[in-house]
């Protein structure tokens, strides 16, 4: 693939009113990489992902996608370029059925056959979802909702998938299942930026990772390097 990174943040700043939550961070993702972003509560991870996806405005710095600045591009047009976010808390449409939620993921697609084929692929990956297609999504369990949220994002055929704490509030077995799905998505060549509280899991799982603290990136490296780093062990792995 080309040498231009798929996603590049240069000194990116994001603020809520006068309060800056992301204070100039730089990071990049090459095509096909699986990278995670870890950090304590309130570090600014969600803020970062939301700004990349376009549901929060940037307050400074550059946000390059496929080499082009997208700072002012509205969220719905970013999705059309292949940038999808599974938001924190899943963002399920609770009053729509499971099937309608999934079809919302394919909202911008006109290739009906492709959509049907992708739906089938999602069903093979997430068999639980298929059994519940006509159920109102608000009545699903947390794990099922997370699966629908991921399946929905996949139906947009993303090139870059941003995942905000997909393991939040889920039992270990369900988390395992979800990470399996993420791994198979990555294996298909989708570039992934994963935000996780569970640092151990994230670091073992990804090729590279960034550590975020109070709005800044303080460490970066391969998953293995960071797992071995005493500071990381002390701060995020409870040692």
């Amino acid at each position: 693939m080309s040498a231009t990174p798929l996603l590049q943040l240069r000194d990116l700043r994001v603020a809520y009113g006068a309060i800056e939550a992301v204070k100039g961070i730089s990071l990049e993702l090459a095509h096909g990489e699986l990278v995670s972003l870890i950090g304590a509560n309130g570090a600014g991870k969600t803020t970062t992902l939301n700004a990349i996806a376009g549901i929060l405005p940037t307050a400074g710095g550059e946000l390059l996608y496929e080499g082009k600045g997208i700072e002012t591009l509205p969220a719905h047009l970013r999705l059309r370029r292949g940038l999808a976010l599974v938001p924190e808390g899943r963002g399920i449409f609770t009053r729509l059925t499971v099937e309608e939620n999934l079809r919302m993921g394919a909202y911008c697609r006109r290739d009906e056959d492709g959509v049907e084929a992708d739906l089938e692929r999602v069903f093979t990956m997430l068999p639980r979802v298929k059994e519940r297609l006509q159920q109102v999504a608000g009545t699903l369990s947390g794990g099922e909702q997370q699966m629908v949220a991921i399946g929905r994002a996949l139906l947009s055929r993303p090139r870059l998938l941003l995942l905000d704490e997909p393991s939040m509030g889920l039992a270990p077995l369900v988390v395992e299942k979800i990470f399996e799905v993420i791994r198979s998505v990555a294996a298909e060549g989708v570039t992934i930026l994963l935000v996780e509280q569970n640092a151990n899991l994230a670091l073992e799982f990804s090729q590279r990772a960034y550590v975020m603290e109070s709005g800044r990136i303080t460490l970066a490296g391969t998953g293995a390097e960071l797992l071995a780093d005493p500071k990381v062990r002390a701060a995020y792995l409870g040692e």
């Binding site: 549901i55 509205p74 969220a75 449409f93 993921g105 909202y107």
Partner: protein, 310 residues
């Protein structure tokens, strides 16, 4: 017995018009959390534009039959109101999307006054008689119970439009996007939905229904007037609240129930109040219902969520 049946017929006719207007209130509320108080005035514009169009057609194209003239007038009025609804959203409400909720509410009242004032400048303060293109001669449906061709048309057209709307909202891609946007604008935009377009579409659809209702009102009562939108608007708002604001089925149910209560209650109000009120006081039922619902069941008959929108 015939009296009661007659009142039910009348109630359903008026109620189906309330329902059409209430749908506009409830759709906008569902998607924006905004009470569009100018909605009743869109109905008024619909009626007056149709009146004007029909007058012109009668002068310049007298060979056109009655029904084609009415349909042409109605179509023109629907198109004008769709543009009007879009313009109101675009110019008055969109920039207030993130403002505190009182701001768009006050703006809505301002838009209402503006539309009435403009209509008053164009059409004056008098009541205009609305051309009777369909017969208002009562037919005896069953012995003692009468219904006019206009009323039959109102029932059929409203029922058709309501079914069409339900299908649109529940079965189409646009409808799915409307429901998704109503639930969460941000997540909808993450799905690639241009939420501004969806909101505009909501105003446009609601305004089209209001235009049709305006023509129905004027056809049924034979008049049109710059302030005619106020009372039906307020009653349809009551109907929407009664059914559960934000809920489509609720708006329809609320409209029909309100129409029936008014019509039946109007028939007995003289007895109930020992002759103190006569049937011309039937408007008070709407406000009694509004008060009672807001006090005892603010979520309405079918609504569950009212306060869950930020």
């Amino acid at each position: 017995m015939e009296t009661l049946l007659q009142q039910i017929v009348n109630g359903l006719v008026v109620g189906s018009m309330y329902a059409l207007i209430a749908l506009g209130y409830t759709m906008v509320y569902g998607i924006l959390g905004l009470i569009n108080f100018a909605h009743g005035d869109v109905l008024m514009v619909g009626a007056l534009v149709a009146l004007e169009a029909i007058r012109l057609l009668q002068i310049h194209a007298p060979e056109l039959g009655l029904v084609p003239t009415l349909l042409a007038g109605l179509s023109i009025s629907v198109v004008v109101c769709m543009i009007l609804g879009y313009t109101i959203e675009r110019t008055a409400y969109r920039r207030l999307r993130n403002a505190p909720r009182l701001a768009p509410l006050i703006t809505a009242i301002g838009v209402s006054f503006l539309l009435q004032t403009i209509a008053m400048i164009i059409w004056g303060r008098n009541y205009h008689s609305f051309p009777q293109l369909l017969s208002t001669a009562p037919l005896e449906a069953i012995p003692g119970v009468f219904i006019t061709p206009v009323q039959i048309t109102i029932l059929v057209v409203s029922a058709t439009l309501m079914v069409a709307l339900v299908v649109l909202v529940n079965k189409t891609r646009l409808g799915r996007a409307m429901r998704a946007t109503a639930e969460n604008h941000k997540v909808a935009s993450l799905m690639g939905v241009d939420t501004n377009k969806i909101i505009a579409a909501t105003f446009i659809i609601g305004s089209a229904l209001a235009a049709v209702a305006g023509v129905m009102f004027s056809s049924n009562y034979g008049t049109a007037h710059y302030a005619m939108g106020f009372l039906p608007g307020l009653k349809a708002f009551t109907a929407a609240v009664l059914g559960g604001i934000g809920n489509l089925g609720g708006a329809m149910l609320g409209g029909l129930v309100l129409g029936l209560v008014e019509s039946i209650g109007g028939g007995y109000i003289e007895d109930l109040s020992f002759g103190f009120f006569n049937s011309s006081y039937q408007d008070i039922f709407a406000f009694i219902i509004l008060g009672v619902v807001l006090i005892f069941r603010p979520t309405g008959l079918l609504g569950e969520r009212v306060a869950d929108r930020a």
